[in-house]
C-alpha cells in the first residue's frame, strides 16, 4: 500500500468513526420507542371467531367488525394493571358514542366478571382469547392496546398502552375518520 492510499484510507476511517458517533448522538437525542407497532394498519381484520369471555356479553368474530359501523377494539386482561387505569377513559369514549368491543387475553370468566364489576363495562362484545391468537394475528404485542376498525373491518389505527385523558380526543378523531 503506498502512502497516499494509506492516508486516504485512514481519513476514510476517521470519517466512518465520525458518522458512527453522529448516529450515536442522534439516537441518544431521540426518545426511545420501546413499542412494537403493528404492521396490520390499513389491512382488513384477519378472520377469527372467539367465544364469549363473560355470560353478559356475546363473543366476538371478525364478521362483527365488518357490520358497517366503525368500532374500537380494546385488547385487555383483568390481570393487567394499566387496563384498570384506562377504564375511566374507555367510559368517556363510550359516553361520546364510541362502539367498543374487546378481547380478553388469557383470562378466566370469573376474573373478567370481577374486573368489569369494579371498573365498569363499556364493551358491547367481549371475545375470549386464551392463547393470544387474535392478539398475534393483529400484530398486538401487549395489553392494553386499542385498535380503530372501520365499518368494512379494516384496521385503521393502533394505540399502544393505556389510554390517558389526552388520548381520548385522538381516538374519537380516528374513529370519525374511519366512519367517513
Amino acid at each position: 500500500m503506498n502512502l497516499t492510499r494509506l492516508r486516504y484510507t485512514l481519513w476514510g476511517i476517521v470519517g466512518l468513526a465520525a458518522a458512527l458517533f453522529g448516529l450515536f448522538a442522534y439516537q441518544l437525542s431521540q426518545p426511545k420507542d420501546e413499542f412494537v407497532h403493528s404492521a396490520m394498519i390499513g389491512e382488513p381484520m384477519p378472520a377469527f371467531d372467539l367465544p364469549p369471555a363473560v355470560e353478559s356479553r356475546p363473543g366476538l368474530s371478525s364478521a362483527d367488525l365488518a357490520d358497517g359501523t366503525p368500532k374500537l377494539l380494546n385488547v385487555f386482561a383483568s390481570w393487567c394493571i394499566p387496563c384498570a387505569a384506562e377504564a375511566p377513559q374507555l367510559e368517556a369514549l363510550e359516553r361520546a358514542g364510541a362502539n367498543i368491543v374487546a378481547v380478553a387475553i388469557r383470562d378466566r370468566p370469573a376474573d373478567v366478571n370481577r374486573f368489569l364489576a369494579i371498573y365498569g363495562n363499556p364493551f358491547t362484545r367481549i371475545g375470549r382469547d386464551d392463547i393470544s391468537e387474535v392478539q398475534l394475528s393483529i400484530g398486538s404485542s401487549g395489553v392494553p392496546e386499542t385498535f380503530v376498525i372501520d365499518g368494512d373491518g379494516v384496521i385503521t389505527y393502533q394505540h399502544i398502552g393505556d389510554i390517558r385523558e389526552e388520548h381520548v380526543p385522538i381516538l374519537l378523531e380516528e374513529l370519525r375518520k374511519a366512519g367517513s
Binding site: L3, V14, A17, A18, L23, L28
Partner: protein
C-alpha cells in the same frame, strides 16, 4: 466516613492524573525536561489511591451502609455476603469506579515495571494513559459519584436484581473489566509510539505482554459470561449474539488480531501501521461496548443502569479519544516507514490472513450489532440475530481456521508449501475423513459439520509446531501458542457438537414419572418448597441415570425473590466428560403436573474448557515472555548481550534467507 475517604482518594488520583499528563507531555517532547520525573511516581500513587477508593466502596457494601445512596439502591441487609460484595460493582457507579481502578492500576504497573522503551516514548505512553484516565475521572466525579450520601437514611435497601445474585456475577464483570480496560494499555502504547515516531519491534515486544495479560482476562471473562448466561437464563443457550455479548466479543477479536500482528512486528519489523491501528481499535471497541451497554440505545437482555445523559458523557469521551487517536494516526501514518516485505507463503503471510479474517469478523459483528440502530433512525425496526451472525462470520472463520492449522508450521519471511507437504496432507486428510464420516453417519446441518471437521484438523495441527523440537528447550511462548490453538479446536468442537447433537424434552410430569432423554433417564422424585436467605423456591428432587448406570441427584428450582421481586430458574446440571444434562423446572399445570425442561447437551462443556485452554495458552506464553525478559535483563546487567526469543526464532530459519537468493535478502 469511609465513603468520604473513598471520594477524597478518587479526587486525589484525578489530580495525580493531571500531573501525570503534564509531566508526560513535556517529557515526551524533550527527554531532559525535569517534569518527567513526576510521571512514574504520579502513576504509581494514582494506582494506590484508586485501589483504596475501590476498597472503600467494597467496605460500605460489606457493612451495608445505607446512608450511601448506591448501597441503598443496590443492596439489602438480608443479602448473602458474597452478593453484598459483588453488589459493589454490579451497578453503573461501582463498575465505573472499577473501570478507573483497573486503568490506574495498569498505568501504575507499567510505570513501576517497564524500563525497556526509550524515555520519550514511555512518557508519551504514560501521558496518554493519564489523558484517557482524566476523562473517566471526570465522568465518575461529575456524573456518577458512587459515594453520594442519602438523607434520610432508608430502613433497608432495594436489593439487587435476582438474575445478578449469582456467583457468576461476583466473578464475571471484574474479569471482563480487567480485560476491557487493560486494553487501554495497548491504546496508550500505540499512541505513545505514534507520537514519538517510535514504531519498532522493541515497541511491539514491550506492548505484547501487557496486551496478552488483558486478553487473558477478556478470554476468561467472555467464557465465564457465556457459562453464566447458559445456566442462569434457564433455556440452555450459551451465546445469543446479544448486543452486550457482542460488545465483549469485539474487543476480544481486535485484541486477538493485535497479539498476532504484534508478533510479526516483534519478529520481523513488518505490519507497523496495522499493529498501531489494532492497538487503537481494540480499546476503542471496549469504549464503544461500554457506551452501548450504558446508554441503553440498544435493546439487550443484559441492559442495566441505562441512562441517556450518562450515555452522552460517554459518547463525548468516545469522540474525544477514539476520534482524536484516529486523527493523530491519519496525520502521522505517513511518517511510519513501511516495514519489511514478505511472501504470502510464510509465517507473516499466514498471520496476515488471520488478521484480515479476525478484522472482517469484527466488522461483521459491529455491522450486525449497530445496523438496527441505523434503521431506527429511519423509523424501521429490524432484528439481527444468530441466523445472520453464524453463517456470515463463518465465511471468514472457515478460511481462518484452515490457515490457523497450517500457518504455525511455516517459516518466517518465505517458505514453500512443498516443505511442509506431509503435515499438510495429514491435516487435510483428518478434516476430510471427519467431514465425510460425520456427513454419512450423523444428520447435521452444514455449519456444525464444518465445525466438527475443522475442529479435528485444528486439533491435530495445533501440536505439530512441536514436531522435531526438543520439548524441554521449546520456548514457553510456543507451548502457549499450541495450547491456545488446541483450545480453539476444543471449543469449536463443543459448539458444533452441542448444536448438532443436543436433545430437548419438554414435558409435564407427575411426581414419580420417568423421562427418557437421549441416553439418560430422569425421574421426578418429589417437589417441595425450600427457602433461601432472600428467596423461596419450588425445588424438584430428581434422579438421573446415564445408560442405566448409577443414580445421580440434581435439584432444579423455580425461585422467587422478594427484594426486589423477581423470578429465576435455577437449573440442575449433571456433568459427564462427554456433556451435560440440563434440567429446569417451570410452573405447575392445572392438572397438578409440573413443567420440566430437559436437555442432553453432548460435549457442551468443551466450549468453556476450550475457552480456559485458550486463556491457559495465554498465561503460559506470558510467563515465557516475562521469564525470558528477566533473563535478558540479568544478562545485560552482567554485560552480556542476549537476543530476544523472537530473534532466535527467526535466526533458526536463517537458511531460508540464502535459499531466497541475494535479491530477496537485501530488502
Amino acid at each position: 466516613m469511609i465513603a468520604e475517604i473513598g471520594l477524597a482518594a478518587l479526587w486525589l488520583s484525578a489530580a495525580l492524573a493531571v500531573l501525570q499528563l503534564v509531566g508526560g507531555f513535556f517529557g515526551a517532547r524533550d527527554e531532559t525536561n525535569e517534569l518527567r520525573a513526576l510521571v512514574r511516581p504520579a502513576a504509581v500513587l494514582q494506582a494506590v489511591l484508586c485501589v483504596i477508593s475501590f476498597l472503600c466502596l467494597v467496605w460500605v457494601f460489606y457493612v451495608t451502609d445505607l446512608s450511601v445512596k448506591l448501597v441503598a439502591n443496590n443492596s439489602h441487609s438480608m443479602k448473602p455476603l458474597a452478593f453484598k460484595l459483588s453488589g459493589a460493582w454490579a451497578n453503573h457507579e461501582g463498575s465505573m469506579l472499577l473501570w478507573i481502578t483497573v486503568m490506574a492500576a495498569a498505568g501504575g504497573l507499567i510505570a513501576f515495571i517497564e524500563r525497556r522503551l526509550p524515555e520519550r516514548a514511555m512518557m508519551a505512553t504514560l501521558g496518554t494513559q493519564a489523558f484517557v484516565g482524566i476523562g473517566f475521572y471526570l465522568f465518575i466525579l461529575l456524573a456518577s459519584n458512587p459515594f453520594e450520601r442519602l438523607s434520610p437514611v432508608p430502613a433497608d435497601g432495594n436489593g439487587l436484581n435476582p438474575l445478578l445474585q449469582d456467583m457468576g456475577v461476583s466473578f464475571h464483570p471484574p474479569t471482563l473489566y480487567i480485560g476491557y480496560v487493560g486494553l487501554s494499555v495497548a491504546f496508550s502504547f500505540a499512541l505513545g509510539a505514534l507520537l514519538t515516531r517510535n514504531v519498532t519491534p522493541e515497541f511491539a515486544r514491550v506492548m505484547r505482554p501487557w496486551v496478552l495479560g488483558a486478553w487473558i482476562f477478556l478470554t476468561i471473562g467472555i467464557a465465564a459470561g457465556s457459562y453464566w448466561a447458559y445456566y442462569e437464563l434457564g433455556w440452555g443457550g450459551w451465546w445469543f449474539w446479544d448486543p452486550v455479548e457482542n460488545a465483549s466479543l469485539m474487543p476480544w477479536l481486535a485484541a486477538t488480531a493485535l497479539l498476532h500482528s504484534a508478533s510479526v512486528l516483534a519478529a520481523r519489523d513488518a505490519l507497523r501501521t496495522w499493529t498501531i491501528m489494532l492497538g487503537v481499535v481494540a480499546f476503542s471497541m471496549s469504549m464503544v461496548g461500554t457506551f452501548l451497554v450504558r446508554s441503553g440505545i440498544l435493546t439487550s437482555v443484559h441492559a442495566f443502569a441505562v441512562d441517556p445523559e450518562r450515555g452522552s458523557f460517554i459518547l463525548a469521551l468516545l469522540a474525544l479519544y477514539i476520534g482524536g487517536a484516529l486523527v493523530v494516526f491519519a496525520m502521522r501514518a505517513s511518517t511510519i516507514a513501511e516495514g519489511q516485505r514478505f511472501s504470502i507463503t510464510s509465517r507473516e503471510g499466514a498471520l496476515v490472513v488471520n488478521n484480515v479474517a479476525l478484522s472482517a469478523i469484527l466488522g461483521i459483528v459491529l455491522l450486525g450489532t449497530l445496523y438496527p440502530l441505523l434503521t431506527e433512525a429511519f423509523d424501521v425496526r429490524v432484528s439481527v440475530g444468530p441466523p445472520y451472525f453464524n453463517p456470515v462470520s463463518a465465511i471468514f472463520l472457515v478460511p481462518m481456521l484452515l490457515v490457523l492449522a497450517v500457518g504455525p508450521l511455516l517459516r518466517w519471511r518465505r517458505d514453500s508449501l512443498a516443505r511442509i507437504k506431509w503435515p499438510v496432507i495429514v491435516i487435510v486428510v483428518a478434516i476430510l475423513v471427519v467431514l465425510i464420516a460425520a456427513a454419512l453417519f450423523a444428520e447435521m446441518s452444514i455449519l456444525p459439520l464444518l465445525g466438527i471437521a475443522l475442529a479435528a484438523g485444528v486439533g491435530i495441527a495445533s501440536f505439530m509446531p512441536l514436531r522435531g523440537r526438543s520439548l524441554r528447550r521449546t520456548p514457553l511462548a510456543i507451548w502457549g501458542m499450541c495450547i491456545a490453538h488446541f483450545g480453539v479446536a476444543v471449543s469449536l468442537f463443543g459448539m458444533a457438537a452441542d448444536s448438532a447433537f443436543q436433545q430437548e424434552r419438554l414435558v409435564a410430569a407427575n411426581v414419580g414419572d420417568t423421562i427418557e432423554i437421549g441416553p439418560w433417564e430422569a425421574t421426578l422424585q418429589s417437589i417441595s418448597p425450600v427457602a433461601g436467605p432472600n428467596w423461596t423456591a419450588m425445588q424438584a428432587d430428581m434422579f438421573y441415570s446415564y445408560e442405566g448406570g448409577p443414580l445421580m441427584e440434581g435439584h432444579p428450582q423455580a425461585r422467587s425473590f422478594w427484594a426486589p421481586p423477581g423470578e429465576t430458574s435455577e437449573v440442575a446440571l449433571i456433568t459427564r466428560w462427554n456433556g451435560q444434562l440440563y434440567a429446569a423446572v417451570g410452573n405447575m399445570a392445572e392438572d397438578g403436573r409440573w413443567q420440566l425442561r430437559l436437555w442432553w447437551k453432548p460435549f457442551v462443556t468443551w466450549i468453556w474448557y476450550g475457552g480456559l485452554l485458550i486463556a491457559l495458552g495465554g498465561v503460559i506464553a506470558l510467563v515465557g515472555r516475562v521469564v525470558s525478559d528477566l533473563r535478558r535483563r540479568e544478562a545485560e546487567a552482567r554485560g552480556e548481550a542476549r537476543p530476544y526469543p523472537d530473534e532466535v526464532e527467526y535466526a533458526d530459519y536463517d537458511e531460508v534467507r540464502s535459499i531466497a537468493g541475494p535479491e530477496e535478502a537485501k530488502s
